[in-house]
Amino acid sequence: MTGYLLEIGQALLALLLAPGLTGFIRWVKARLQGRRGAPPWQPYYDLRKLFGKDVVVSKNASWLFRFAPYMIFASTLAVTMIVPLVAAPLPFDAVGDLLAVVYLLLLGTFFLALAGLDPGTPFGGMGASREMTIAAIAEPTIALAIFGLAVGAGSTNLGRIVAQTLANPGGVINPGHLLGFSALFIVMLAETGRMPVDNPSTHLELTMIHEAMILEYSGRYLALIEWAAALKLLVFFSLLSNLFLPWGVATALTPGALGVAVIALALKLAALAVTVAVLETRLAKLRLFRVPELLAVSFVLALLSVTSSFLLR
C-alpha cells in the first residue's frame, strides 16, 4: 500500500517540479545573458493562464489533433512512475523497465509528430519530419546508454540499477559509466529540444523543431503539451542524475530518507539545470544537417560504454 502511495506521490512531485525546472533554466539563462528574466515560477502562471483560455482548432484538424495532447501528457506521466525519482526499488519496477521508459517517451513523440502533421500546415509537417529524423537516431542511443549500466547491474530494471550502483559506489569512475553519461547527456539535449539541436526560446523561426509542431495548439491543449515537455525534461534530468549518481535516493521508505531524497533530487536537478543554461548561453545552434552527426557521436559513446562495461565485467 505504501508503495502505491509512493508512486502517486512521486508522480505528483514530478508534476509540481517540472514547470519550475523549466522556469529555473530560463531564469539562469537570462541572468547569464545579462537580462533580468522572468522569475522561475513564471511557467506556473503560464499554465494557469493557458488552462483558463478557450481552444481554437483548425477546421482541417481531425479527432487526432484533440486526442494527442492527452496521449502525450499521459505517456510522459506514466514514465515518471517508472523512473526512480526519490526511492530506489519501486513497486512499478515490475510493470516496466528501461525499454518501457524508452518506448513510452517515443509514444509521446510519435503522437506529437502526428498532431503536427494533422492540421496540414507547412510548419507542422516540417517540424514533424525533423522531430522524427532526430528521434530515429536518439531513441536507440537512450536505451544503449543505459544498457551500459544495466550490464553492470544484471538487470534492465531502473530501480535495480540504482540500488546496485548505491551498493557498489566504486563503479562510478569506470569508463562505461562516464561514456554512458556523456552519451545520455547529448541525447537529452536532442530529445528535449535544447540548444545545440533546437532553440527552446523562439517561436516562428525557420529552424525550429518542437515549436513548429505545436504551433497550431492553444488553450488547455497547449498547456498539456507544454507541461508534458517540462515533464520530459525532468524525466531526462532525473535519469541522468539518479542512474549515474544515485546518492541521496531513498532505499528505505522512512519519512527522513524520503525527505533527504527530495532535497537531493532538487539539488541535482538544479545543478543539471545550471549546466544546461551555461551550455545554451555558450553554444550556437547546430545546422540541422549536422545534428545527425552530433547524435552519431553520442551513439558511438553509448556503444563504447556498453562494450567496455560488457567486456570489463
Partner: protein, 221 residues
Amino acid sequence: MNDHDTLFAQLSTLSASLVLLFGIALLWRRSLGAYIKAFRWQSLVLSLAFVMIGYFGHDPELYIIAAALLALKVFIIPWYLTRLQMRVGTEREVQPYVNIATSLIVAGLLVMLAYAITRPLVMVSKLPTRGAIPLAVGLIFVGLFVIVSRRKALTQIVGFLVLENGIALLAALCTYGIPLIVELGVFLDVLMGFLVMQIIVYHISSTFESIDVEQLSQLKH
C-alpha cells in the same frame, strides 16, 4: 587484487578512454584548428596518463618521458602545425572520403574490433592496466582511419600523430614504459617525420595551391 591495483586499473582505463575520446572527437570536427586543439588535449591527457602509470608502476623514468611528451606534443608540434596552417592557408575538411556520421560509426566499430582482437592478450595478462589495452589499440586504428579517410595533407598529419599517441599509450600500458633511450628515440623520430611531412606539405601547397592530396593522384595538373 588489492586496493592499490584496483585503483590503478580503474584510473588507467579511465585515462585511456579519455585519450580515445579525443581521438574520436577529432573525427567530428572539420576545421584544422579544431583538429590541432583535439590533438593537443589528447596529448595532455596522455602525458597525465604517463605520470599516473609512473606513479602506480613505480617507474620514475616515465616522469621524464611525460615531460618530454608534454613539451613535444602539447607545445612544439601544435605550434608548428598552427604556423604551417597559416602559411598554406586554412582549408577545411569539407568533404572527407568517408562522411562524418559514417566515420564516427566506423570508429566505434574499429574500437569493438580492437576489443575482439586483444581479447586473448587481455585474458592471459596479469597487469592491472590490461583493461585499457583494447582502448589503446582502438586509438591506433582510429588514427589510421583518420589518415585514410581525410583528404587534406594537414589533417592526415594529425591522424599520424594520433596514431603515434596510440602506440605510445599501448607501450606504456603493456610494459610500464620501454627504456628511456628507446622512448626518446621514438620521439625524435616523430619530430623528424613531422618535419619531413611539413616540407612535403609546403611543396604540395606551392605546386597545387591546395593541400588536397586528391591532386597527387593525377599525373598532370
